[in-house]
């Protein structure tokens, strides 16, 4: 079992403490929900783990390897997949080509092979195309393989974005508000997909989400951030019963 550990991570932006001494861990095969009011530091924490933001203090470790000193692309190569809140797809390319882009790391033919499309490049491209077809089938989007992204609805794009991370041989998946903008059918499909991935690949999933019924049903554990501090970490039932969590987060939601 692999372990992704966040140790004493603090992030300051100028004088603002976006995160303060946050410590918790995510094991492979577990699904952890990261919740908290707006501005609590959830996205900053995801950015720290994925190498986009460097912690001011503390570190992120993957089985002893320090991720927090690596670039975003190196972190991705370590097997950490990131799905952004808004799908970051190449809108001019087809679904198929967007998914192929995620096979980048798996393709290792050189530039000369590419320029001349030598047999090894062709072979690898074919293998990648087969993997892409597999992921499209899993996500139920095989019919739109050749559709350009700009012609697809938002929920669909989010699925494709998720599909890209699945092509990257990841051990851990970071999801930022995966169900925002999805309809009920898409939400239940996403839940099934995530549970299926956990079961099949022993994937560890960290999900930032505001929708309480969704996270409490999906997650094994909830981690709560408030003003950059970790205020609770435990099973959903326990965390949602915590008085401090209630006042800082759920209270705010009730007010709203």
């Amino acid at each position: 079992m692999t372990r992704l550990a966040i140790e004493d991570v603090s992030v300051d932006f100028g004088g603002i403490h976006a995160l303060r001494d946050v410590t918790f861990a995510l094991e492979s095969g577990s699904i952890v929900g990261l919740i908290g009011p707006n501005g609590a530091g959830k996205s900053t924490l995801l950015n720290c783990i994925s190498g986009i933001t460097r912690p001011t203090k503390g570190k992120v470790l993957l089985e002893g390897t320090v991720l927090s000193e690596m670039s975003a692309s190196s972190v991705a190569r370590q097997g950490i997949g990131r799905v952004f809140q808004h799908p970051e797809l190449v809108t001019d390319l087809s679904v198929h080509d967007n998914l192929l882009t995620a096979c980048h790391r798996a393709l290792d033919y050189g530039l000369v092979s590419e320029l001349l499309r030598l047999p090894n490049a062709r072979r690898q491209e074919r293998a990648a195309a087969e993997r892409v077809a597999g992921v499209m089938a899993r996500l139920g989007i095989a019919d739109s393989a050749n559709t350009t992204i700009r012609n697809l609805p938002y929920g669909y794009r989010k699925l494709i974005d998720l599909g890209r991370t699945l092509l990257m041989d990841i051990d851990f998946l970071l999801l930022d508000e995966p169900i925002a903008g999805l309809n009920d059918a898409e939400i239940s499909r996403l839940r099934e997909i995530l549970l299926g991935l956990r079961k099949e690949f022993d994937l560890g999933i960290l999900v930032v989400e505001h929708n309480m019924p969704f996270v409490s049903r999906l997650c094994d554990r909830l981690v709560v951030l408030d003003l950059g501090e970790l205020i609770a970490n435990g099973p959903p039932a326990e965390v949602l019963g915590n008085a401090r969590v209630m006042s800082s987060y759920l209270g705010e939601m009730a007010d709203a």
Partner: protein, 324 residues
């Protein structure tokens, strides 16, 4: 959808793929027999078009795919021209080898030119590359012992394996190299590099999360692009037989950029149409008394206003509409 996707094996229906292959074959066949039907000036123009197609193909990978603007391509073109000419003329290196060596030198310089691109974007990068181009042009100008300075270099016809390369010979060499350049650019556009470049253009952060190292691919894009420009420059030098630093000013860089934009950013077909437009349209306008430049300028405006996707994008839209 970009040409990359359009030409992908998986994207279009097999029927349209056959059509595309047939069209490419027909164009190449026409290009092969063209010298029979053209006078000297016509052949010169067609050779020049093919040379500019090479530059545009490379620049399009950089600007259309990777989203990096460059105003130093005339300098790459010039370095290629000078390096090839000096190696051939002064060092006695065979012409084809000079072309290659010149291109390797320019590729290295192109990789250097990518350094500002690691920090700058858009208009800021344009200015930085502009400066880089001016420096290169100035070096060519000042290095009189090697380049002849402002007096320029007059060249004699190159020889390949003992045969003197006349206008027709140079035309066929250019055609062969342009075809090779097309093949390479097409392959890159549908390979891992092409996809990585498009991903970087859209979002460097998202590309990073896919394990694509943006800095590395910007350097690669600049380098490939400089390679193309240099080969084109080495052909150009022997097409005009006289080069001087003034030929490689920023104005030419702007023309290269316009070819790519007018033809269609991020498309192979656009590189071809843009280069052809730039060489052939002014010739067609030559008959208009007093005002060919004026009309050409207005045409550029009209193309940009009514065909923001460029000539190639327009053609594709017409093709799709007629195909239902």
């Amino acid at each position: 959808m970009s040409a990359a996707a359009d030409m992908m094996e998986v994207s279009p229906a097999p029927a349209s793929r056959n059509w595309a292959a047939a069209a490419v074959g027909l164009c190449l066949l026409l290009a092969c027999v063209a010298p029979l039907g053209l006078n000297g000036y016509g052949l010169y123009l067609l050779t020049l078009t093919e040379i500019f197609v090479l530059v545009a193909l490379g620049l399009n990978l950089l600007t259309g795919y990777a989203g990096q603007i460059s105003l130093c391509h005339s300098a790459f073109f010039g370095v290629g021209a000078y390096a090839t000419a000096i190696l051939t003329q002064k060092a006695g290196v065979p012409y084809l080898l000079s072309l290659l060596l010149g291109a390797l030198l320019t590729t290295a310089i192109g990789a250097l030119a990518a350094i500002p691109a690691l920090r700058l974007k858009n208009i800021y990068l344009a200015i930085a590359t502009l400066g880089f181009g001016v420096v290169l042009q100035k070096i060519i100008f000042e290095w009189r012992g090697l380049t002849g300075g402002g007096g320029g270099l007059a060249l004699t016809a190159p020889r390949i394996a003992g045969y003197e390369l006349g206008a027709t010979g140079l035309y066929y060499l250019t055609l062969a190299l342009m075809s090779a350049g097309l093949f390479g650019a097409w392959n890159v556009s549908r390979g891992r590099t092409g996809r990585a470049l498009l991903a970087i253009k859209d979002s460097e952060i998202a590309a990073g999360s896919l394990g694509i190292h943006a800095a590395q691919y910007k350097v690669i894009a600049f380098a490939i692009s400089a390679f193309y420009a240099s080969i084109a420059g080495g052909l150009f030098a022997y097409l005009v037989r006289y080069i001087n630093p003034e030929s490689f000013s920023v104005g030419l860089s702007i023309s290269f950029l316009s070819m790519v934009v007018i033809g269609g950013l991020g498309t192979i077909g656009g590189s071809i149409l843009g280069a052809a437009f730039y060489v052939i349209v002014p010739e067609l306008l030559r008959g208009i008394k007093d005002a060919p430049g004026l009309v050409f300028g207005l045409l550029l405006v009209v193309v940009m206003v009514f065909m923001p996707q460029g000539l190639w994008g327009m053609l594709r839209r017409i093709w799709r509409r007629s195909a239902g």
